[in-house]
Each structure stands twice: as C-alpha cells, then as structure tokens.
C-alpha cells in the first residue's frame, strides 16, 4: 500500500465514474453512424443525466423501501469494484480486500437489488424483468467462475493484481489456448451481464423482449439517473476487467507517479476500443429469443470448461 496506489485507486474511480456515460455515448454514436444516422454525440448521456438529476423525485404508490434504496445500492456495488480492480494501478490499497470472485459477487449483488426493486413495485413488468434477469444471472454464474478458475490456475491466485502482474511478466501467456478460450467465454458473459445484444436489447421497450428495461420501468428523475449511470459503470467495469485481465499493458505497477497519466490514457483507449467493437458487432446482430439464451450461455460454459481443461493438460 503506498501513496501512488491510493492516488491510482482514486484516479480510476473518477475515471470510471466520469467516463462511463461517455462510453455509453460512444457506443450509441458508433451504432448511429453505422446505421446511417447522425447520432446525438458522445456527450449526450451526460446531458441526459444532468437533466434527470434536476427533475422532481417520484415514488410510485405501493412501492417500498427496496425500491427507494436500490439506485443507491446499485451505484455502490458499481463503485466498489471500480476502486478495487486493477484498471490504472495494480497497487490499489483495497486490492487485498476483494479478489476476482468477490468483484463478480458484488456486481451480482447490484443485479439482485435491482430485481428486488422491480418486484417491489408489484407490476407485471417488474416481475417479468426480475424473473428473466435472475434466470440469466443463474446461468451466467458458472461460466464466470470457471473462467476465473482458468485464469487463476496459471497464476495460483484469484487475486486480481496477482493475475495482472503475472501476465505482465509473461506476455506469451495471453496467446495460450486456455487464456484465449477463457477470454471468449468471459466476453460472452460480459454481454449477458450488461444486457447487450443478443441477450437483451438496451433500447427496446417491447414487453416481449425487455429484461433490464422492464425492471427499471417505474424509475424516473434522479433515481433513474443513478440507475443509468450505475449501469454504464457496470459495463465499463466489466469491459475494463476483460481488457486488463487479458491485455494489461500500460498499467502502472511501480511507485512512480508519472506512470499514472499514461495508464489512464491507455485504459481509456482500451475500454473505448472494446466498447466500439461491441457496438459495431451489435449492428449486425438480432436479439435471441429468451429461451435460446441458455444455449448461448451453455456454449460459453463449454468454452470455459475447455479453458480449464487445457490449462491442466497443456501445462
């Protein structure tokens, strides 16, 4: 634990919180351009957030404490991983407090609070969204943990900084079959966890298809702002994890303060690249039927299992 580490942790927290809406804006812009529209600009989500935060808070009749608390808890569960994970520095003072498993579980906690809030409203949409989201979560979990397993076998630890440092010291590991398979598996579950196509369509409001949007239908004003912001942060955190677990170059490891600005720039570039790629891929994809989603997730589970198996048999 040193001052550079602490500075890095604060820096990445600010970076994720401030950059997440920009990432969402970038993804929408890429999509718009590829679909032949002009698009609203990269900073539009920030303008939306400012507008929502100024509005009057509204509580629907019949909802309870779970509904009121969910935006705050969701935001908190997105902020803690943003401070812990090795995005800008591997020396975050909180690194020993939460490993990869704990980070994944914290993100799941956010999903759960949102599902409980949706059930709390007592509407059919809320229940529908919660039920679907929980089904997807239950099926995503095995893949995530197996990918964690595959990543940590070669390092001998589930500690995030340890995995990243090991990859920095031995760059050829990234192109090993185990690592590639785990990367693909983790990419699929990232898409499922963040509610992107083909699992969920973030821009739909059609009751037959929506998952995430059905859960947050009753939110408005500042509450909605928090949820939109937290969702963008969760996407940033997951894409950041994907980027730094498999391509950690540029991250600050030592005690020098000069490495931090470079690390910030590189990290922002990596996540922007991943986000733009995801948005570009979404243009060519249609949403899967809900009951075809398990097949997709089963496929990614198989990849993760293969990743663990190869890490054992090819080691």
């Amino acid at each position: 634990m040193n001052s550079t580490g602490a500075a890095g942790a604060v820096l990445q927290l600010v970076l994720v919180a401030g950059g997440a809406p920009l990432l969402a804006g970038l993804m929408r812009q890429v999509r718009a351009r590829m679909e032949g529209r002009a698009g609203a600009g990269v900073t539009q989500p920030w303008r939306d957030l400012r507008k929502l935060l100024r509005k009057e808070p509204i509580t629907p009749r019949g909802s309870g404490p779970a509904f009121r608390a969910a935006p705050t808890v969701l935001m908190a569960t997105a902020l803690v991983p943003a401070a812990v994970a090795p995005f800008v520095t591997t020396a975050s003072p909180l690194d020993g407090a939460a490993d990869l498993i704990a980070v994944v579980a914290l993100l799941a906690l956010g999903t759960v609070t949102l599902a409980l809030a949706a059930l709390d409203t007592g509407t059919a949409f809320g229940g529908m969204g919660a039920s679907r989201e929980m089904t997807v979560l239950a099926l995503v979990e095995p893949t995530i943990l197996l990918a964690v397993f595959a990543l940590s076998v070669r390092v001998g630890s589930t500690n995030l900084a340890a995995i990243v440092t090991a990859t920095l010291h031995d760059p050829l590991r990234v192109v090993s079959p185990a690592s590639l398979l785990a990367a693909v598996a983790l990419a699929v579950v990232t898409i499922a966890e963040t509610g992107r196509l083909p699992v969920d369509n973030p821009s739909t409001h059609l009751e037959l298809t929506m998952i995430h949007e059905a859960m947050v239908l009753e939110y408005s004003g500042p509450d909605l702002a928090l949820i939109e912001w937290a969702s963008a942060m969760r996407l940033t955190v997951l894409l950041g994890l994907l980027a730094n677990l498999f391509a950690p170059w540029g991250i600050a490891t030592g005690a020098s303060l000069t490495a931090l600005p470079l690390a910030v720039g590189v990290f922002a570039g990596k996540v922007a690249l991943l986000g733009a790629g995801l948005a570009a891929a979404e243009v060519f994809m249609a949403k899967l039927r809900l009951f075809r989603v398990p097949e997709l997730l089963a496929g990614s589970f198989l990849l993760a299992l293969l990743a663990v198996a190869t890490s054992f048999f090819l080691a």
Binding site: P65, V73, V84, S131, L145, F312
Partner: protein, 670 residues
Amino acid sequence: MSAVEWGLAAIAGLAVVAVLAALAAPQRVRPTTVGSCTAALGGAGIAVGVLAAAGRRGAVWLPELLPLFGVRLEFDPLGGVFTAVAGAVAVAAALYSIGYTRHGLDSRTVQAALPLFVAAMLLLPAAASVATFLLLWEAMAAASLLLVLAEHRRRTAVAEAGGWYAVMTHAGMVTILLGLLLFAAHAGGETFAQLRAADLSPAMRSTVFLLTLVGFASKAGAVPLHVWLPKAHPEAPSHASALMSAAMVNLGVYGIVRVGFDLLGGGPAWWWLLVLGLGAASALYGILQAAVTTDLKRLLGYSTTENLGLVLLGVGAAGLFATAGNRALAGLALAAALLHVINHAAFKTLLFLAAGSVLHATGTRDLDGLGGLRARMPATTGLFAVGALAAAALPPGNGFVSEWLLLQALIHSLPATAVATAVTMPLAVAVIALTAGLAVATFVKALGVGFFAKPRTPAAESATECGPAMLAGMGLAAAACVGLALAPTLLVPALARAVQVAVPGTEAATTGRLTLELSGITGSMSPLLIAAALVVAAVGILAALRVFGARRARRAARLWDCGGGGLTARTEYTATSFGEPLQRVFDDVLRPEQDIDVTHVRESRYLVDTIHYRRRVPDRIEHRLYAPLLAAVRAWGEAGRRLANGSVHRYLGYGFYGVITLLVALAVTR
C-alpha cells in the same frame, strides 16, 4: 471435575428440569417455562461447545447408566464446534417457541419433546462409544419425530410427513447400527479409542464407511436419501423446523467426518469422490427444486439439502486432498465446510423462524398467496432479508465467506497430479457456481414475491407483526448472521483445532484479523472491508445527491398501468410465474406435470368458456425411485396376506409342515 465436565452435568440437569417443567407446569405458563429452560440448556451447550472448541478437554464415564456398556462422553474440538452450533440454534428457537407455541402447541408431549431433542443434539457430538452414540442418535430421532407430528390433528399432510420421516430416519439408523457394530466387532471393543486403534482389512473398512455413509447422508438430507426432508421440515412447527434444519442435519456431516476421518483415519480416493459426488448432486438438485417450489417452508427445506450438499462437497474434497497428501488444502476445504455448517445454521434458523412468523400471521406458506408483508410485518421482513442475503451467498452476507473459502480450496487444487482431481475440481467449481446463481434466484423470489409488492390474498392483507418473544428469537439469529459475516476471522482458531482432529498436522486455514488471508497459498478477501466500502460508497452517493441534486420534495405518483386503470394484485408476478423461465430451462431435470382443461362455450367450440391450468413440479427422485420401491413392498405384503385367511386348519397345517421340514432338514444335515 473440569469446566467441560461441569458443563455436561449442567446440560443433563437442565434437560431434566425442562422435561419435568413441561410435565408439571400448568398449561398457561408451560410455553414460557419450557422455553426459558430450553434456552438455558442451549446456553449451557454453547458454553461447553466453545470451551471444547477452545481446546479444553473433559470426559465422563457412567457405567451404571446403560447396562453392559455404560455411557461414555468425551469432548474434543470437532465435537465442540457442532455442540456450540446446536446450542446457539436451540437458544434462538427456544426463545421463539415461547411466543410461537402458545396457541395450540402447548400440550405436554410436544413441550417435553423440545428439551429432549435439544439435549440429545448437544450431547451427541460428545459420544465416545458406539453404544452412547447410537443411544443419543435414537433419542434425537424419536424426540424430533414427536415434534414433527405435533400438528397431526390439524393437517393430514403431517401424518404422511411423519411416516416418511420415521421410516427414513430408522432405515438410516439401521445402516449406521450395522456399520458401527461391524466396526466394533472387528476392533474388539466399542469405545472410540479402541476403534481408532483397530487394524481392519481394507474391504471391511470400506464396508463400514459405506454403511455409515448411507445413514449419515440420509440424516444430512443428501440426494437421493433426502425425500423425508422437504416433507418433514414444512410440516413440523417452525421452531422444530429450525432446530432440525439448522442443527440436526449437521450431525449427519459430523458422523461422516468422525467415522471417515477420525475413527477410520481416512481412506482411498473413491470414498471421497463418492462423498463429493453426493454433495454436488444434492446441492444442484436441492436448489433446483427450491427455485421452482412455491411453498415457503418447502423452499427452505430444499435449500437445506443444497447447503448440506455444499458442505459434503467440501468434506469430500478435503478427503481427496488428504489422500493425495496435500494437507494444507485438505485443512482449508474442511475448515470451509465447517464454517459453512456454522453459517448455514445461523441463516437457516433465522429463515425458518421468519417463515414461522409468516405462517403464524397469515396461516399460509404458499408464496403465491402472500405479498405485501413488508408494510404489515416490517421487522420480520427486515430479518428475513438479512437471512436471504446470507442464503444467496452474496457479499456482505455470511454465506459468501464460506463459499469463497470452499472455492479457493477447489481452485488451488490445480495443477494436480491425479487426473481424477483435475477432472472433478472444475466440475465441482461449476456446480458451486450454478448453485450460487440458482440460490440467488430462489431467495429473490422468496423475499420479493413473499414479502414485497401487494398482498395477493385477504389472509396476507390482514397479517400483523408477531410478538416480542418471537422477534427476540429471530433477532438473535440475525445478530449471529451479521457477526459471522463481518468477523469470520474470530472463528479461525477454533476451526483449526477442529480440523486437526480430522486431518492431523494442518495449520489454521487463514491468518489475519480484518482480512482472510489464506495460509500457504496466495489469496485474500476481507468481508469487513467490503461491507465498510459499500457503506462508505452508499453514504457518499446520498451525500452527493443531497449537495448536487435537485432539492425538490418526493412526490407519490401512480404506477405505470398502460392507461388501463388501477393495477390489482391479480396482475402481479407470482412465485410460479417467477420460477417459470428456470423451470423451462431445466425442463429435462425437473419434468413438471401440467394439466390444461379447456371448456368451450356451448354454442361454438371455437369460443373458450373457461380454462383450468394446473402445474406441479413433483420430486422426481421420489416418483421414480421410491414409488416403485413402495409399490413392490406393498405388493409383497398383499401377497403375504393370502397366506393368512383366518382358517385355523390352515394355520395348524403350516405348523405341521413347518415341523416336518425342520425334522427333514435335521435328518439330512446330521
């Protein structure tokens, strides 16, 4: 006499006092007297258990109490952990019973069975001879059966559940009896010290292990011997359900650890692969059934099968690692399993007691008929939420800590030398992960559908908060959950001593006060820091909103109803509809039964008048495995009845032919 021996005497004395109070006290004060005596008994159990887990020893031999053998009790740290857990559960359940049993559950038998059951569970981990062990095991089974049957006059399902429980528990008892008697016969003595020193052939050791494993696994509710559990736990009164589900099932695990590790001293890898497989199957099957059931207490019962499955998975992994010679990992896996026993006891006590309060207030356990309780029973809802967070194994709940330790043990088993380990460990991790995911869905359903939203029936509409004694019982269990979630490091020394009994030569699994730092392997996690970080983040967000957000008053508004007028409870999602996607995904495993009756309007068969839709998800193992077995037993009995038709001549004939056959046999063999 040592402190532990005084404690044993206190347990016996308090049990006698409580039973006498149940028999002698007038009905009006009976629940209070028995409840407080049993709570004191539980307190004595905690004290003795903690002392024993801290390494204090104590042994008692009472040769007069049981003819031929005598009663032999001796505490070691392993037994101490289980006694302390049972004692803690008993304190919460007994306090709760003061309020809960006042209405209709205050008969002498039911009240007297409670302290007997508790005392048997407290003393069982101290049994140091085969006869004592079997005696206490049977006392525990009989007393709990009385409690299960407490409400048999009110509901017919109770008698059926009692029947299943009686048969399964005694079938288990028979196999344990056979196993331990075989062991004692070949060891030449029946005290545990003699059994430890015995030199058995490998075949005999495996026979003993398998026979006892069947009995213990059935007590622990492991698939496919779990069928009694989802029947008996819902039908028992809720304080008894809590005791059975949080304390009694643990003793099945205790039996496996005691016999497999301590008395037999470990065994070949296939034993532990079997235990691991049993655990994995139980965890998955249990939570799948829980995810689709709509009966709150049945859901909790299946969740017990799941959690004990996870514990068995840890025990099996520990055995596997110990056989392979990796003592550090074996110690970690066993410590994780024991910690999960403790955590599960804490949150399952809380959940069953809260479910009891709901049953008490609404008269129903059906989640489809509940809802809206958070406004009517705020304290119960809050306490249930604490338990649900723990049961869903999410941070900052206590369930997460033990599952994290278990995952660490499994993940660090690679790179392994044995192919069996390399193949099973990834699968075991996947099973734990899928179980965790389904547990999240299950407890979101239980909390969100059962307690939130609008009430779905008049019964839920008119629910009121339960009394102070019941709240106190639940509050104690919730405090235990919070304590275990924030400071699991305090338990590490006691767990290390308990693990050393089973796997000698291991060190404490983790070091560190605030952070759980694994010893021997790299890895750390701090539940306290995670919880603190979450709180700091939430407070920061609220403060920022206050400073930067619009300072406008909150306004209540109508729910979005698509312009169709007010929404009623009929449009809410129910537990059935919530579980439907999961049930469809796991259709091949669950095999739900559906009937659809469509009645047409008389004038035209193209117009539908009414549709009746019924769906149930039966326990497939019960249907496929036990139903044919029971049918065969019944057919055999029916066939036997034809031999006895009431004719005296026929019976005389049987006697005559019997004697002739005997004589012929004697003549031939002599």
